[in-house]
């Protein structure tokens, strides 16, 4: 009964000063709106980066050949021709917890087909490559293990290559000449877009690694090995096991390879956006605090201005607690209403931003819930002191107040 009527009393008091109530809540509206908009933009950027990282494939571990020291001149990673197919075979054979292995050989080359030519990346891979990279074939099919064994002249082409060489015709079944060797196109990869570094991932021709090594580059070593672990939990174990296997094969020689996993890359990539989100969030939080102080300021003015009203209430039987509760409820109503309006404002403005600027935005329900509860806490926190001052007034003094 008391609590219910106190809410009625608080609502009536707010209604008496509509304009001031709205202006007071404005600080919170803008603060919460800013938080929601900033966090949405930050989350949007983060999810975009995460999507790009995910496009590299799931749970991918990469082994690069190492650096070489030629009479004092040290090459960078990949400079040494130290990885061999035997290394890849040993990993596939001895390391447990892996879902796929693909030895990689890369080369840029001019390709001809359909009377057109194009310079593109020629990658020698195993059939596992498309599952490791989560990169399905859009048309046709991936070459097979059989093709690898038979050093077949087959290839799977990326979307960009198709656009450049087969603008009007169907590529499947056609012949693509790489260094004058005809390869039959058996599949077309689905579009993957640009990677984190702005490279067009679709500008690629995949062929069996055996074909690449024996027919095109005539190399005996491979550039890197892609390995897919079964699950994120075993990545570290698999990575260690790969290192151990390869070191065992090196028989005491120095390590001439490096093993990286995708988690490291993902962390590096999301770090920037995380920093940005925290920064934007912090700025928005400052505006929230300012909004809270605005509420406190107005409530203090309100207590002074309404001293007589408080006196009347105390005279007719209000307890100090009733007055305290009334002013806290007023502050909480102001800030929660402000919070709800702020959430709407934040959602609206982030939608506008995404519509006009094309930025990705992601509104999380968590941030909305947090914003509303934070605004309630602000109401209680900044409303308490003025409410306390009101509750402690002496009824006689308050009634006499001019």
């Amino acid at each position: 009964m008391r609590f219910g009527s106190t809410i009625i009393i608080a609502l009536r008091a707010l209604r008496r000063n509509k304009l001031r109530s709205v202006l007071t809540a404005l600080g919170i509206i803008i603060g919460i709106g800013a938080v929601i908009a900033m966090v949405s933009i930050g989350n949007g950027a983060k999810s975009q980066v995460e999507a790009q990282v995910a496009s590299l494939g799931q749970n991918v571990i990469t082994v690069f050949s190492g650096s070489i020291n030629t009479s004092g001149t040290r090459s960078g990673w990949g400079g040494a021709a130290t990885l061999t197919l035997d290394d890849a075979d040993a990993i596939a054979r001895e390391v447990s917890g892996i879902a796929g292995v693909s030895p990689e050989v890369r080369d840029r080359s001019q390709v001809l087909a359909n009377g057109l030519n194009w310079n593109t990346q020629i990658q020698g891979e195993s059939p596992d490559y498309i599952t490791i990279r989560s990169w399905p074939v859009a048309e046709g099919s991936m070459f097979t293990e059989q093709d690898v064994r038979s050093v077949a002249k087959v290839c799977v082409v990326g979307k960009t290559v198709v656009d450049q060489l087969f603008p009007e015709t169907e590529p499947i079944g056609q012949t693509l000449r790489i260094r004058n060797i005809p390869f039959k196109i058996v599949g077309v990869l689905s579009a993957k877009g640009f990677n984190l570094f702005g490279q067009d991932q679709d500008d690629v021709v995949l062929i069996p690694y055996t074909s690449h090594m024996k027919r095109i580059t005539r190399r005996t070593n491979i550039a890197s090995i892609l390995i897919q672990a079964d699950s994120p939990e075993v990545i570290d174990k698999v990575q260690q096991s790969i290192t151990d296997t390869l070191m065992q094969r090196r028989k005491g020689r120095d390590q001439d390879f490096t093993v990286r996993n995708q988690v490291e890359l993902a962390e590096a990539a999301t770090k920037t956006t995380k920093t940005m989100t925290v920064l934007l969030g912090a700025i928005a939080c400052i505006s929230l605090v300012v909004g809270g102080i605005g509420i406190m300021n107005i409530m203090l003015v309100s207590v002074t201005e309404r001293t007589r009203e408080i006196g009347i209430r105390l005279a007719v039987g209000a307890h100090g607690r009733d007055v305290l509760l009334q002013f806290i409820i007023e502050a909480v109503i102001l800030s929660v209403m402000g919070g709800i309006l702020g959430v709407l404002l934040g959602i609206g403005s982030s939608q506008l931003i995404s519509f006009y600027l094309g930025w990705p935005v992601l509104i999380s329900t968590l941030s909305v819930a947090a914003a509303v509860s934070v605004s309630a806490v602000i109401g209680i926190f900044f409303g308490y002191y003025p409410a306390m001052k009101a509750a402690e007034l002496d009824p006689i003094d308050a009634l006499r107040y001019e």
Binding site: R2, I8, I9, G311, L314, A315, V316, G320
Partner: protein, 253 residues
Amino acid sequence: MAPVVQLKDIHKIYDSGEVQVHAVRGVTLELHKGEFMAVMGASGSGKSTLMNTLGCLDRPTRGTYLLDGVDVSGLDRNQLADLRNAKLGFVFQGFNLLSRTTALENVELPMLYGTGHGTARQIRERALHCLDIVGLSQRADHFPSQLSGGQQQRVAIARALANEPQILLADEPTGNLDSKTSVEIMGVFQKLNDAGITIVMVTHELDIAHFCKRNLIMRDGRVVSDIAVADRSLAEAEMQKLHAAEAQAKLTD
């Protein structure tokens, strides 16, 4: 019948640092149901302090105060508030209505505090009934700023009646009103008193005090005179006289 109010040797000393102000110096007083008493005195005579004590807004430094048989001296802030809510009604010189709040909501105010006032609907009905008693039920939805001084004071009286108090305490209720409206307000008080409500009012106007049944005069914190009014003014008769005088003034013009 036991008196509604029993004051025994009440003292009130305000201790403001170095100086001690002895505002009330031993007042003993009994007030029975149905009385209508005016408290008079110059400023500083202690009448306001006495009223605050009677109204349970302030506690006496010494002495005992029995309100309706309950000893008030030992009660804390919240218990005093509950007592005010249950047994006392206040009317102030400056009306003290909540601005931008309808007459009805103003009258509902005391019933929103304390316990046992019933549902929102019952409170509303009771408030309307109180406005009806003071003849303002037609103005229930008006804001104080839309009412005349006399009407505002009547809303304040209705608010004081809302809790069916034992005593109505009025602090210079006609202080801000012209003489005709003052008579009107005194008429309302007399009507309420006739219906059995005990009223105590502070005033410094002799003619207003003349509407009461009992006059108490204070000086320097003591009661110097406590007399029954022999031939008290009746608001109705005074009103007729005023009307006649007005008519006269127009005739002679």
